[in-house]
């Protein structure tokens, strides 16, 4: 990779990241003020909290950017073990929000172990597959990651956090696929989870309702279909140009969770089709950079890690937007950088730091003179 190509890639990625951060913070501000007034009396309550996490995330970003990613291999298992402890801890001790224990309090700030678990799982799988890189694999080689996956999914389901459960499953499938696993085994793997999913849906009435709400929102306009109808009204009423950032009405107690899982609907209302396509374009370029980096990197761990980061963002974005525009049933996933939520923001930014560390590796491999980093 030539010096010019590399700096193009580096700065392109940096611009994408900064744009996502700034726009994300603007949308958190815009979408959370009514709920801030409603819930706390302080319009900027959520924005202030998110800002604290933003600077935390920025610190982690800087740290991981300059941290040689190869050293993460050593932390792969400890991170997974830490995640297990925290997940168990949150189930036992966590705050209950809307019937789910997802947060552990650290003073005024909450932390969601599931966000750590997702990243830890990706690092763990990247480490695991990189050790087998180029070797013929048989099914029993996967015993360890399968056990980790199943346990992690069980803990996430227990919270319950169905969205993270699905995401972790998708990351596993994605990396398994990239690791060159025979397609029959992959389909068998997916197939074996379908009965489990059916049982899970059947066990929890609210999941059943979500599916009914997804299939027939207009039959329950004030019940389970309410949120999705409001979401579509937000998007549709934004038109092509939107009503302007801050001018949206749907966040005024019309669209529930407008500053969390459904922030994309507010983006659609306030910035229109231009805004929604813009957000999607930013994430698309980010995912493509991840996949590009993973192909260019010679180091197998870097390959799996970069592609894992691509999966990490890609799956979250597709699932979140899919739910908001009503082509997937609701399951509770955030839109990275745009949805309010400190843990998601911090982990997303840390993950980007790791991505930059891998990008840096591309340069050193070619032994190109060091360019002073802007960050």
């Amino acid at each position: 990779m030539s010096s010019k190509e590399w700096s193009n890639l580096y700065y392109k990625c940096l611009i994408i990241c900064v744009t996502l951060w700034v726009w994300g913070m603007v949308m958190v501000l815009s979408s959370s003020t009514p709920s801030g007034i409603q819930n706390t009396g302080n319009a900027f309550y959520y924005f202030e909290k998110q800002s604290i996490f933003f600077f935390l995330g920025l610190g982690l970003f800087m740290f991981f950017k300059n941290f040689p990613y190869q050293k993460l291999k050593k932390f792969a298992k400890p991170f997974v073990i830490l995640s297990f402890f925290l997940l168990v801890g949150v189930i036992v001790l966590g705050h209950i929000v809307k019937g789910a224990r997802r947060d552990i309090g650290f003073g005024p700030l909450e932390f969601q172990p599931s966000e750590l678990a997702k990243v830890a799982f990706i690092i763990y799988l990247a480490d695991f597959f990189s050790r087998k890189y180029g070797k013929k694999m048989v099914l029993k080689d996967f015993t360890a990651p399968l056990i980790v996956l199943v346990f992690m999914m069980l803990l996430l389901i227990k919270e319950p956090d169905f969205g993270s459960t699905v995401l972790i499953f998708l990351y596993a499938v994605g990396l398994l696929f990239l690791a060159g696993m025979n397609l029959k085994i992959i389909f068998g793997f997916i197939g074996s989870f379908i009965p489990i999913a059916v049982v899970l849906v059947a066990m929890a009435p609210y999941r059943m309702k979500r599916i009914i709400g997804f299939l027939h929102p207009n039959q329950h306009p004030y019940g389970i279909g309410y949120q999705i109808i409001q979401s579509l009204i937000s998007l549709g009423s934004g038109g092509i140009f939107g009503v302007g950032i801050g001018n949206g009405k749907q966040k005024l107690a019309f669209l529930p969770e407008s500053y969390k899982d459904y922030v994309f609907a507010i983006i659609g209302e306030e910035t229109g089709l231009i805004g929604t396509i813009g957000v999607i374009a930013l994430f698309t370029v980010l995912v493509l950079i991840c996949l590009y980096v993973s192909r260019k990197t010679k180091d197998p761990f870097g390959k799996y890690l970069a592609s894992g980061i691509g999966l990490y963002f890609g799956c979250q974005v597709l699932l979140n937007i899919g739910v908001v525009i009503d082509i997937l049933p609701s399951k509770g996933t955030t839109l990275p950088f745009f949805s309010y939520g400190g843990s998601s923001l911090v982990m997303s930014m840390a993950t980007l730091g790791i991505l930059f560390s891998i990008i840096k590796g591309l340069r050193t491999e070619e032994e190109i003179p060091i360019i002073s980093s802007p960050l």
Binding site: A253, L318, G322
Partner: protein, 576 residues
Amino acid sequence: MEKQKHLPDEIFSDRIKILKILFFIFLGIILGKLVYLQAFKYSYYRSKANNIHFIERTIPAYRGTIYSRNGHILAIDIPAKTLYIYTTNVNNKQKEIKIISQILHIPENILTDKFKEIYPLIARNIPINEYDALKSENLQGLNWENSYLRFYPKGKFASNVIGFVNTGGDGLGGVEYSYNNILAGRKGRYAMAKTGKGRYLPGFDRIIVKPQKGANIYLTINSHIQGIVEDEIGKLYKKFKPSYVSVIVMNPKTGAILALANKPDFNPNDPWNYSLQDRKDFAIEDDYEPGSMFKIVTISGVIQKKKVTPDEKIFCHNGVWLVRGHLLHDADPMGTLTVTQVIAQSSNIGTVQLAMKLGRDTLYRYIRKFGFGEPTGLDLPGEASGILKPLNLWTPFTITSVPYGQGVGVTSIQMLRAMAVLANGGYLVRPYVVRKIVFPDGKIKRIQPRKSGPIISERTVHVVDKILNNVVSNHGTGAFAQIAGYRICGKTGTSQIYENGRYSNSHFVASFIGFLPMADPKVVIIVSAYDPKGGLYYGGSVSAPTWRAIAWRIMQYYNISPKNMNNQIAFSYHKP
């Protein structure tokens, strides 16, 4: 060598490509749906959003003012305040209900019911003292919407012409009704923002459609003449206590109504306190048998067709005539009269003989030519057509009653228009009450008088006028209408009211119709009293004196001096 193709890096790159393809397929679906939602279904969702984000309200438009011909305000909108409450913005509803109940005198239970709505109407057009009292209290959620109160500064004055409006400001009678679209203007619309919890959101009010002022209307009604008429009609109503009495004054050349009044009448500021009978415009809504007034049609036809000359002798059978199996009577037995005398002394027997000279077909044609059997086209609502049997329903006996106004129903306005033919040289005019419309943008629409004809020749007019002048003489039935110094053409009418299947001997319609000055008629006036009480019932004795008083005062108003006084003092002739 096949192994070479399956190098780990190649497999990895291939699978990355497959992932990319999957990613883009999913992305394509998402983009497709977004374009569908945000570009193609935009207006659908926009209107849905507006429906839930906004409460839409109408903004009342300022209704046009109604002026008299002389520019006096007869009906005008007064800005007022109407109180609504955003109940979702009220924290302590019980306390607020109590305070409002005390100030506006609305029972608490009614207010409690209203407070169950998000944005209820509390009270319309709130008086200033209550408005101030409410403002001084620290109440939540009050919203004062502009409204307009229709005010009729002259009260009962010309109420039958002006009409009235309902609480929503829509015209329900008179010009207020017939010109409602012009007066009303266009209501505006505005939207108030609310949150998903129904709370009012200040600062987002927006006007969708601005209200448009209505046009101002100038009537043909002359305030002075209307005042004269109402004064005199009041005296008649008091003296003879008829069920109804109506007077219309019209310019015979244009059809412009200068005054129109009825008794009983009503106050348009408070229409619901009056009965339907009080609000009825007797002058145009009710038909009655005109009696001898109708002879003007018969005599005009006969003269026009040159069947007789005014001096031709007619034998009046000394008051009783057996014709076509029926007995005809005259009020006073008369022998041989000239044609002029037949009309002046109002002999029914003589008139029927004249009509028979004309024949029923021609008579019928003249009745139609004079505008009977159809509305006059007056621009007021509720005009009756009158009753005129079509020719194929005429029996041989019909011609022995219709020529003197029995068996035929007319409205005062129809009668007046027919009389105007003899005052304007033979033309049938269209009566009208609105002469000018002034639109808010300054454009002015003047209503042009319309007339058709001539339906009779100038010679006929001249001859008949001379005959009708004889009615208003010491020898005619209209003697009480005489005014010294003015030549007047007129005709009395006294008809029995048809009730319970026969003509009553005690209930009459007493009318007088006429115009003056004969040489150049300025006004044509009709006075009709339905069922006057107290013994007198002849048109010549009940209505003619009132007619005379009105005519005399109008002449004074117009500053038309009496002529050929021969040392008489104007208005010296005064008998009850």
